[in-house]
Assembly symmetry: C2
Homo-oligomer: 650 residues x 2
């Protein structure tokens, strides 16, 4: 008898025979779970959390009954609290019923390759936080001036810093710090107005942390505030993933669990931020307390939840956010474990659906300072578009869903070792060849490539190549009239194209792209493309001068293949720029320059938000945009790129 197992957060699912261990099932389905000790129940690396799943309601509480009982050795490895929270070891837990299993970040194999690497940014150094070393005159009975005023006078004399206040907690440590430093101290001053730290002696190192809170991935950039250099980059899965893969499911969680849900989600991301701060500091050989300021970007939902603001009203018309402006909060009031008196700067948001991440992109790419008409696309779990130049900027949000990132795709997976990342299909033979992350060779159809699944960029390749080879019709249907062993009907009668044969994979099954996958990508790219068209109509333009593709995922897309499937309007491919994780870059820029923070607040209010759903032509455009490109009138720059078969299909 077979049972269904679903793994979160990847969404991978499949049937496995009764008695299979969770670890074995994970391997079969291409879900990477660490297992260092060789299933000796010693290492404890394969911890997973058993969650409720798609079971009849009455079964939920007995979901543990769907699994083998706790092994004696397992009991030794797990802490009592863990057992109570349904944590199990994947290697020893056998499946006796349908289960939904969450694989925590710590148990996942393979470091994510698409880390949100720090790009090169040009920014004048003008951080909010500065350190000043001063030597204080010793007090005497003739000069019994208070410690703080003594420090203030010395700072004014040496560095011109005037009219300072001092954080309450720093004040508490001031007398001892001054005396420990023998009247020589380094004062950390925020925004030229508040003393947020006093260290004995001379301390030059000044550190900040910029964090990009993505719906799926969070990335922190520990930055030297004296040089602008990135000292350490630390990425992690957004721990809120366990409350839902996408933004709407997390908002729903808040609404369904009034009073507690929001707090839970907020606490989860705050803990995540604390982990990033701790790990990044460790990498750089400093303490989290040495981080004097933190800047944060994220989409509007991440923004609201982070600040503990009910995101509910943003999800319903007229989609008003709680505020647009940036927010500054003391780290200790926020529960963020950096310098307690340090500031946490949450960047501004534009509108209900265009968040601080987009503002980050804007201050990194600065389309508002350019003459050229720029289309900026930030593809994350949602797609955010900005179109315009220094005259005017408009923005919109497209409900692309997570398909473009490989989620909700049958064999979709993160960009980790084993993921197929590039695909070519021979239009004549309909044979596929591909590259797997961690292996420089292209597949030859014989070698076991240890393929596990398909990552986001390869999904676009696959669709584009299938379209160019005529496997897909312009409406997206798989053309079963073609003859190839790779084209077939799958288990449930869903048509599919085999990308990698079982013997090439490490998951003991064929890796395929099926009709459902194609539809998911069509919806996603249709949302983006129609968004672009409506925006262009709004500005009354027929073409733009420059396409800036932001987002860690965006950086890995093949721009030709992306235009082949019609993800964005026609343009000169030479004018397509990958601007990397521009949201994260924006957070770093804000960390390094206070004037750019002001610019961020200004631009956030200046961008005009277009509510796509309100546009009359939305449905028509969306319907059209779902199709694959078929007219060279529409995509002149594809001329000579689209091969014969695609034209035939058209």
């Amino acid at each position: 008898m077979d049972h269904t197992i679903i793994f979160q957060p990847s969404g991978r699912r499949g049937l496995v025979p009764e008695g299979t261990t969770i670890l074995e099932a994970a391997r079969r389905l291409g879900v990477g779970i660490e297992a260092v000790c060789g299933e000796q129940l010693v290492c404890g690396k394969c911890r997973v959390k058993v969650m409720e799943g798609k079971f009849p309601k009455e079964d939920i509480t007995s979901s543990m009954g769907h699994l083998s009982g706790l092994d004696e050795k397992e009991v030794k490895v797990l802490q009592r609290k863990e057992s109570e929270e349904n944590i199990r070891l994947a290697c020893s837990t056998k499946i006796y019923g349908d289960v939904l299993v969450f694989v925590p970040e710590a148990s996942r194999t393979g470091k994510q390759v698409v880390s949100k690497a720090a790009g090169k940014i040009k920014v004048k150094l003008k951080p909010a936080v500065r350190k000043y070393y001063v030597e204080l005159p010793l007090p005497s009975l003739d000069d019994p001036l208070g410690d703080f005023e003594r420090l203030e006078e010395a700072l004014a004399k040496a560095h011109g810093a005037k009219k300072l206040s001092i954080d309450y907690r720093v004040l508490q440590q001031l007398p001892d710090a001054i005396r420990k430093g023998d009247w020589k101290v380094t004062a950390t001053v925020w925004q030229g107005r508040e003393v947020i730290r006093v260290e004995p002696g001379k301390v030059e190192s000044s550190i900040g942390l910029a964090v990009d809170i993505g719906t799926t991935t969070c990335a922190g950039y520990l930055t030297d505030l004296n040089t602008g250099e990135v000292l350490a980059t630390e990425s992690m899965m957004n721990p809120q993933v366990r409350y839902g893969e996408d933004v709407m499911s997390r908002i729903t969680y808040c609404m369904m669990n009034e009073g507690t849900g929001l707090k839970e989600l907020q606490q989860t991301i705050i803990e995540g931020l604390n982990t990033i701060a701790k790990q990044a500091a460790k990498k750089a050989g400093c303490s989290p307390e040495d981080i004097s300021e933190m800047t944060l970007v994220g989409n509007t939902a991440m923004h609201h939840i982070l600040l503990g603001i009910n995101p509910e009203y943003m999800g319903v018309a007229p989609f008003t956010p709680a505020l647009h402006e940036s927010v500054d909060v003391k780290a200790d009031r926020f529960g963020i474990h950096i310098l307690p008196a340090g500031n946490v700067h949450v960047m501004p948001i534009e509108a209900g659906f265009v968040g601080a991440d987009n503002v980050g992109c804007l201050i990194a790419d600065q389309p508002h300072k350019r003459k050229e008409m720029t289309l900026l696309i930030d593809i994350g779990t949602n797609g955010e578009l900005v179109l315009g130049n220094k005259e005017k900027l408009i923005s919109c949000s497209c409900a692309t869903g997570p398909a473009l990132e490989g989620a909700q795709i049958e064999f979709g997976m993160r960009a980790a070792p084993g993921a197929i990342e590039r695909i070519k299909i021979n239009p004549k033979t309909l044979e596929a060849t591909y590259k797997v992350i961690g292996n420089d060779e292209w597949s030859d159809g014989k070698t076991n490539m240890q393929a596990k699944g398909i990552c986001g960029s390869a999904i676009i390749d696959a669709i584009a190549e299938m379209f160019k080879a005529g496997i897909l019709r312009k409406n997206g249907q798989i053309n079963m009239d073609l003859k190839s062993p790779r084209l077939r009907k799958g288990d449930k009668g869903v048509t599919e194209y085999v990308l990698a044969w079982k013997h090439e994979t490490s998951i003991d099954q064929d890796i395929v792209v099926n009709q459902k996958d194609v539809r998911a990508i069509q919806l996603a790219k249709g949302a983006l493309y129609s968004g672009c068209l409506i925006m262009m109509r709004k500005l009354g333009i027929r073409k733009f001068d420059r396409l800036a593709v932001a987002g860690a995922f965006g950086s890995h897309i093949d721009k030709v293949e992306a235009m082949v499937i019609g993800m964005f309007p026609d343009c000169d491919l030479k004018k397509v720029e990958y601007i990397g994780n521009a949201a994260g870059d924006g957070a770093r820029i804000a960390l390094l320059n206070v004037d750019r923070r002001r610019e961020a607040n200004e631009i956030a209010r200046k961008v005009e938000y277009v509510e796509l759903a309100l546009e009359e032509d939305f449905n028509d455009r969306f319907g059209e945009a779902m199709q694959f490109p078929h007219m060279f009138d529409e995509f002149p720059h594809l001329k000579g790129i689209l091969p014969g078969k695609a034209q035939e299909a058209a």
Copy 2:
């Protein structure tokens, strides 16, 4: 066999026979302990805490062995935690050895009469906190402006409040508050720049709390910020009293218990402030959350401990405080339970020994705005002096000790019912007559006046009357050459004057003033008087135009008697003004007018502090000042007041 029992915080001590209950001992010694149920072990009102005391070191831990064991009924009344903390019921606990007992505020009988009543103050209303009612335009898809920016625009339009920020926690409540109020809300704005509360609908009441943290007594004035009216006054014993009666013993406690002592003391006063806020709010029929701001005054030690700053360095030369300037801290960061985003304003201090209480006096009395030369005396547990006018102000601190408040005086007690408050001695018969608080009649030597002890103001009367009657020589010695049954040698050979006979008292013993009491007062008044003389020399003046006596205690002193004993230099008694609890008035002024806060910071830095101990003539002056006045050259205004006997004594 008799045992010594000492009661804190009154300091009353005495010998009682073995087997006496603590309650009985308290009655005998004039210590008021509540006992409502008639010793039926039911009401639990007579809870006392058994402390370590003046026992041989090895006895400290076994101090419970000096008492009868826990009675079965007692166990029922007390909570387990209380027993562990050595809380006992006074009515059932018998004495079998020397003990030191602390009587908590809640168990003390009689409300303190010398409450720090709110004086009349003249102040232009310009509070830091203002409430604005606004009606917001409803958002729509065409106008999806964020909630905060919507509020900000409405506030700017209606009230001109611009460039606002919003407290992080208030932001969290903003979307719900606005919608609950159907887009009509009242915003509380601090310093014209930060929104610290948003209430649905129209709310007019705006409330603040000014608190005077005395070493012994704390008084809170719940104040209507719209009218300046005091809505409720709430006084309590400073709960830090259990760590020591005076400032130095509390500083010592901090030093002896490094790492924990300061935190304990800080937590204790914060809890005290929370109690005051809660009780005052209850009296006025509002919630503590309705208190939008709190202003605080206190001497430098109270100031530092309140802020959690190590007070150690202030206690040793060169006596530098951690800071002079006022401090603003968010209530929730401070642990103060008023409006969480509300501000706690701690007023500035002048020098290591001249605190925010003195600054409070200055902004209340404003000697710095007067032409006349003012001598301002604030008598609390310490005596603080300011001398000067609008040209120049100097200040000093005199180590008066608590004797002037009736502490460390054999029969000294708080100004509560049963306390002798006025005394007259017939210079011919040497007979005394007195008034007791709670009784309008003067004693006749026969009636049982239910006298329990002598409060601070009466101590001065007693000394002055004894001096005028010739009972005291000018050097303070009791003149045993005089013949009177009231003049005798006490138990331990200490000479004493009987003020009230046993049959006139409720404590079943004679109430006396002994030689030690006289010495204590001599030291206190000597410290004050010599301070005044040195200050006058510093300013090069021989007389001042005005004497302002501040302090709750100061208000109860008979100015003639005070000048008779030479508490302050000679002056026209018509020019003596009682300015009441000016420190508390200053806190209220700061609460009601932000300009006066600036004035406070300015004046705090402007006053020149004189370190008396550094003055060459300090010892000489102090020695002379200990004497009682004897030359009409020195005190011309006493002419006709001092009777013959005093002159003879001189």
